[in-house]
Assembly symmetry: C2
Homo-oligomer: 344 residues x 2
């Protein structure tokens, strides 16, 4: 019983049945060039011997490891966690495993993550580009390896890879229009850093909505800069310092929205009656705060499964004629108490 290895191999099965390894291999893979009788016998014996195919050996021979790589800034963030979840679920259904690498938003870590995945010979890589990444040579290595490269969330046109994203402009537009429908006319906007494309697009959506409904743009209503937790608090202060009046806020981030809400509540402002608020991302906490925060659903789980599906599609296309695709998911707004005014 105690072999050299802990696992039985196709050779062991072959020996037990008086066959060769090749026949066993073909039997297990349902190759037509094998008789039904031996196929059965082999499978029974495999079961009996607790045979478990060695994907490493098979991978060496075939070049297919059945592994997908994903590179993200931080696994411990709701958005990325959902993407991983969706990606793994779909990939797994097709027999693929998922390997994850975190960059901590460091350029160096991103580079070494790419190398690590290529060394492991993954069959494809999905990346949310690190915020600090400015050059893209390390992604060329993925293309040189001729495996699918799929960007999501934070994409970079320069790389010329497939993309899976949501329509940020549309999401922002829907959010802003919703506020307008609630009767709001002076809608403030927390815009985020504009060199990051998703924030730029959200601001575009805000502006488009205003224009569509004939509202004029007042630059005093827009606060640029990071949209992290504390900044929502600061942004409200900024609006007050400017002495500008507003009856709604569309924040490009749920975090900033929540802190803005806290600030306003402290000031005695009623939400949504005095100021309606809507955020962006559908972070888990948004439905737990009081009042529950309206937001834009980023469909993170769907993004993950879309990535997996695109990968499965690309993997079967001849590498040479693989054209970068762009998949755009349509976000939906989730209306909760923070923006739902009583019917006038």
């Amino acid at each position: 019983m105690s072999k050299k290895s802990e696992h039985s191999t196709i050779h062991d099965i072959a020996q037990a049945l008086g066959l060769t390894a090749s026949s066993v291999s073909r039997a297990l893979n349902d190759n037509p060039r094998i008789s039904e009788a031996t196929r059965q016998a082999v499978k029974e014996q495999a079961e009996k011997m607790n045979y478990r195919p060695n994907l490493v050996a098979a991978g060496l021979r075939t070049g297919k490891t059945g592994i997908l790589g994903i590179i993200i800034p931080l696994a411990n963030r709701a958005f990325f966690a959902s993407i991983i979840s969706g990606l793994e679920r779909v990939a797994n259904q097709s027999g693929y495993n998922v390997m994850i690498c975190q960059t901590g938003d460091s350029y160096e870590a991103e580079k070494s993550a790419v190398e690590a995945l290529l060394r492991a010979r993954v069959e494809g890589v999905a990346v949310s580009v690190s915020a600090k990444t400015l050059d893209f040579k390390h992604f060329d290595r993925i293309k040189q390896a001729k495996i699918p490269l799929i960007l999501f969330d934070r994409t970079m046109d320069e790389i010329g890879a497939s993309e899976v994203v949501i329509d940020d402009r549309l999401g922002a537009m829907l959010a802003t229009e919703h506020l307008i429908e609630q009767g709001c006319r002076r809608i403030a906007h927390f815009a985020g850093l504009q060199h990051i494309s998703i924030y730029k697009k959200r601001t575009k959506g805000y502006l488009d909505a205003l224009e569509k409904h004939g509202l004029s743009y007042d630059e005093n209503l827009v606060v640029f800069g990071e949209v992290k937790e504390g900044s929502g608090d600061a942004a409200v202060n900024t609006l007050y310092e400017r002495g500008v009046s507003f009856d709604a806020i569309f924040s490009s981030s749920d975090f900033a929205a929540i802190w803005a809400m806290k600030n306003l509540q402290k000031r005695g402002v009623r939400i949504p009656d005095d100021v309606a608020i809507i955020g962006f991302a559908n972070e888990p906490f948004t439905e737990l705060v009081t009042p529950a925060l309206s937001t834009v659903n980023q469909l993170a789980d769907d993004l993950g499964s879309a990535i997996a599906n695109l990968f499965l599609e690309e993997i079967n296309v001849k590498k040479e004629q693989r054209k970068p695709q762009k998949i755009v998911l349509m976000p939906e707004i989730i209306v909760r108490e923070s923006s739902k005014r009583v019917i006038r």
Copy 2:
């Protein structure tokens, strides 16, 4: 330039330098049996040729794939996401990659996750056992493979594997004591399903704290049953139906705590002055609700890194004499507004 493979191999390097693959291999691995001169030459050439070691080939030969597997119910849950994050970070520092499998709390999925990871020849597996898992044969296969098996969060003594957990009893005790220190004397408890060990331990901690401080146990103050989102709401109703008075709640789950808080707020109960509340888990939303929810920090990230460290330790121990270890992390309470009464 266009070889059969997309990657250069040690043979290519060897050929370019008039050496053999074995020497190249030794040079790259800093084997002492190689001259400094050729070591240099090989490394330069490798760099020049964009050589990337094929971990699949090496893994086949050595049996070491450099991959760690983790099996969790759902990646998209803050606690597990943090564990993944901590695990990946530490594992990565030691050159390991992480492969994840989700079970969706299904027994079947758990079984096939084990198989998938074993087929991929991971060097160790960390598992949070699915809620539906009642027999453990599939874990035997991991032990048969003689690789480290580490259980976390939901553990099962029956399996006889190493464990990394937090001291749930202590966390609960600290939480309850904190409430007592705030002057609370009639502390309600949302206990969760008692056949799940973590909830049982938390209830134990609650009882221990009461006893330590000479408070008598009133069964009317304890609500058993699931501690999911809606159930916090129902639990408060139950307390009112029982007509029992209480000045604090220790909930074994943040979710139940938050819904309890919402319920109480609707009833006009002031928090923390009328009822102080503390939850368990330090879910991300706890600091965002109003009032911010006190809770017990589960140290998920630390759990993840502890798992990685234990793995790294066990991997170097002769498989035969690997003894199951148990690592217990000490949780801390995080006091926020929901339980911090003004100094009397």
